[in-house]
Amino acid sequence: MSDYEPKVVCFSCKFGWGYLTDEDTLSRKIDNWVPLICTGKIDATHILDAFKAGADGILILGCPEGDCHYQDGNYEAKKRVYLIRRLLESAGIEKERIRIVLSADPEGESIPRLVDEMRRELAKLGPARKGPAKERKPKEAIKGRGGK
């Protein structure tokens, strides 16, 4: 599909990303950008909600490891993201649809670039599927049930 443009929702922590640049100026360069205070605030519900609303991928930009203003919010976010990736995978949805980067960019200039990068990766995967559906192969199923 040539006209397919993946939608990325980007959450970023205000303590590490783009705090030196005016938020309004920066937000003009980034679609679906949600700057917030601490990525530890991001609930799995927000992520599923973004998918439900039509996102094809989620990018989370947290502070560098050991640099969380609230001690461990970025670690919490990372663990959640890993769990959600595992959840998606178990349902046959590509785990690459969620990405977390723990780093910092006070000017925020790299945010549009990171979003674009993710968008290009998602374009290879195609749109998020309507529902998970993996075909069950007879042999796999028997093995999964403890048969021979």
Binding site: K79, R80, R136, A141
Partner: protein, 321 residues
């Protein structure tokens, strides 16, 4: 004065919810004296046509259990909605989609291929598949249409009250029955169960350390779980923090962790998603390798977190736009 009319009906369900109604024991006889049961397919001989002949709203309450996966179930659900003043979604399947809702992880086509072709116990040399209509000896035979996915009851009809559980425990069934008969119902749309989470009433709660943390995720059959200690403190996944209270801790009492049949607590749409931060917070790991190792010990997360609630979850509705 005529006795109020009650219908009890099963759609896509196992019969356990009807059993739960019988489990109120002698009280059922008092209920049967107070009301006129007009439909209860599993226990009494009434026909759907008896219901069709009724006036709209003639039935005071329909207790509907089971989910909706085919056209017959949809038709009966809509019929009962039309004829009833109140609909009580009864049990996890009606409220959330239930265990059969996990079939939504597969497509209709894959299910049919497995059930009628690929399963090792199937012998089907002519490749017969169920069809909505077939002609036999010049006559047309029909079957209900199998839908693409499983629906919770409120996907199909307006539901007034919910009583989750797999199955709902007898004491809540009695509360629900008396609330209807004595006209003491809470606002429409309420769930007739406590609003707090299971952990609030769990007697293992006081055993948990100040901060729970685990370096392993273990499955209940892999370890000998201590019967008095919080499951999460033992590294065993228990959905108690994200699940509504009211089940009577039937699973806890036999040393089985909560599996979430009561669905989300008040105000939460998706219990599985709400559980993820709770679980993440107790994982004692910082490096990518450690987190990956622990997270990979979580076998079949979608099946575990959404065992009873996939059709009603945000996760299921993903991409439905």
């Amino acid at each position: 004065m005529a006795k109020p009319k009650i219908a009890i009906c099963w759609l896509g369900s196992c019969g356990g919810c009807d059993e739960a109604v019988v489990d109120i024991n002698e009280v059922l006889l008092r209920v049967a004296d107070a009301v006129d049961i007009v439909l209860w397919p599993v226990a009494m001989d009434f026909k759907y046509d008896d219901v069709r002949r009724m006036k709209n709203g003639e039935i005071l309450l329909s207790v509907v259990n089971g989910n909706v996966r085919n056209s017959e179930q949809e038709e009966i659900a809509k019929l009962l909605r039309e004829k009833s003043q109140l609909i009580l979604g009864f049990g996890a399947c009606a409220c959330l989609g239930g265990t059969p809702g996990l079939a939504n992880l597969s497509t209709k086509e894959n299910i049919f291929n497995w059930v009628y072709r690929d399963a090792p116990t199937v012998v089907n040399p002519n490749g017969n598949y169920p069809r909505v209509a077939s002609r036999v000896n010049g006559k047309e035979l029909t079957l209900p249409e199998f839908y693409d996915r499983v629906h919770a009851l409120n996907d199909i009809i307006d539901v007034d009250y919910y009583l989750p559980g797999c199955p709902p425990p007898p004491y809540l069934v009695m509360y629900a029955a008396s609330a209807v008969l004595e006209n003491k119902l809470p606002p429409k749309g309420s769930t007739l169960a406590p609003n707090r989470a299971l952990c609030d009433s769990c007697k293992r709660n006081k055993s948990k350390p100040e901060r729970i943390s685990t370096k392993e995720i273990r499955r209940i059959h892999e370890v000998e779980a201590d019967p008095d200690t919080c499951f999460l403190a033992q590294g065993i996944i228990c959905l108690g923090p994200a699940t509504r209270d009211g089940c009577g801790e039937a699973c806890m009492n036999i040393n089985i962790p909560c599996r979430g049949c009561f669905g989300p607590v008040e105000g939460v749409e998706d219990a599985g998603a709400k559980f993820i931060p709770a679980l993440a917070s107790i994982l004692d790991a910082e490096s990518d390798e450690d987190i990956t190792r622990i997270v990979n010990q979580f076998v079949d997360p979608v099946g575990y977190l959404y065992r009873f609630s996939l059709p009603a979850s945000m996760f299921q509705k993903k991409g439905e736009r």
